[in-house]
Assembly symmetry: C2
Homo-oligomer: 308 residues x 2
Amino acid sequence: MYKTPFQVTILGSSGAMPTSKRHTSAQLLKHGNKLFLLDCSEGTQIQLRRMKIPLMKINHIFISHFHGDHYLGLPGLLFTMHLLGRTNELNIYSPPGLKKIIKTHFDICNLETSYKIIFHEIDKDRQTIYEDTTLLVDSISMLHSIPTYGFLFREKPLKRNIKKGHIDKYNIPVNQILKIKAGGSYTTPNGKVLSNEELTIAPPPPRTYAFCSDTGYTESFTGQIEGADTLYHEATFMKEFSELASKKFHSTTTEAATLALKAKVKKLIIGHYSARYDDSELKSYLDEAKAVFTDTYIAEEGKRFDIG
Amino acid sequence: MYKTPFQVTILGSSGAMPTSKRHTSAQLLKHGNKLFLLDCSEGTQIQLRRMKIPLMKINHIFISHFHGDHYLGLPGLLFTMHLLGRTNELNIYSPPGLKKIIKTHFDICNLETSYKIIFHEIDKDRQTIYEDTTLLVDSISMLHSIPTYGFLFREKPLKRNIKKGHIDKYNIPVNQILKIKAGGSYTTPNGKVLSNEELTIAPPPPRTYAFCSDTGYTESFTGQIEGADTLYHEATFMKEFSELASKKFHSTTTEAATLALKAKVKKLIIGHYSARYDDSELKSYLDEAKAVFTDTYIAEEGKRFDIG
């Protein structure tokens, strides 16, 4: 149904601290042949190599906030891109302050990178921070202890497709095809007008991916992400720790699932697990969320999910 | 022969960039029950967890220089120590400038660590930067593109041991034992004088570990590390790239081995391999070095070497 691949790969699923098996927050989002990095925790460049993802093809990096587990892999990745002789511009979207951090690292070793880095500062909610011919990205305000933004990736509506066989059937000339694709009708040599609806079929609906981490439970962005094909929502704790979660501006399994339900999303991925849980406990984790929202999945290193 | 364990564990063996299997520069040196971290590259905290090394017991961290592959794991490790509620002071030894980097990271997320960090700046060659009851650490000037120091860990000379059986044989009272250990003789109730040499045996010689990375080939510190029990010397390239190595202030297999030979060390470990070499090429790597210095070993993640 969809021609353009749209999928997310989990590079790191752990919360504040890594474990011997789980890396901290990072995801690789692929849309068509474009690669977007969402968060860039310590070790992200190693995870990219392990998963054979070509790190030089990443041109856009989105950083949710400046807690160590979400951005500390960035300096290393930037150094590596330089060592590999990158020349393409790199765009980084984050709350204000990143440029100073990166400059401090570069200055101490007199580094001038082989490529240009463009720092895009996010300072408000529902700001469209990225746009290309097929995709838009908006900021989503998270409820956290420091300025933190989630990211809503939404496809632009696709054009209607000409029905298979109609070009041959009505012998439509090439120069008319683009017009029909743009919404026009077609008049046959006999003067018969074929409406656009008649000639085309509706495209599949635009797909959306909402990345929401880190955040305490809040319904403030439920409307913004409503109907998303896939929602990634942090679930640092199991439900028994709801008080602790709230105090630390994090969410529980049940809260993430409740939000998925209220926002009427189609699929929920949970992650950002506290290091107190070992891998064998993730089954109970999933069960707690599924009890509220059936279509829930567990983020695990290397897992790939199709969006829509 | 030696009662105190003295060993180094390789946490990362890769040069400037990590590979899917090799982490960048970091080693854990254990002397008795003290743990010293030498360099702290990206992912070091994960490597420590994997190797079940208790990261909270590390009280002294030595950073050779500020190229990304030698220190970018430090902010993450410091964050984790805070999250784990560390209260013990942490000492970090490095060229000047580290405090500013760490402060920049802490400031952006309003972090005040639960423990005190003491930054010790190294700014000259052969400076004794650390001393305790059993061990000394001196700086070693490396030949590199930015200020870089190696580290010479040397045990203090041990006291002579009283010969087994002599305490009983001569019925030496307890209060005399400490005097003998301090170098004194003993006079028996019959007036017979037993010399210290007669009563004691020489302790094993103090052991030394020299960590030399990153550096171009130089004989400037050959005298300082002479006779070291174990020398770790970088060998970024195989010998065919000696010109490139020199240009980039790095060494080849042959150069590292030549230095080991000239400095009359007992054992050589080589590491800091360029990412161009995959693991299967390390055998040839080792062969090149062994052709010059027989007792050479290859650094590999998780490998542990006894010093002396």
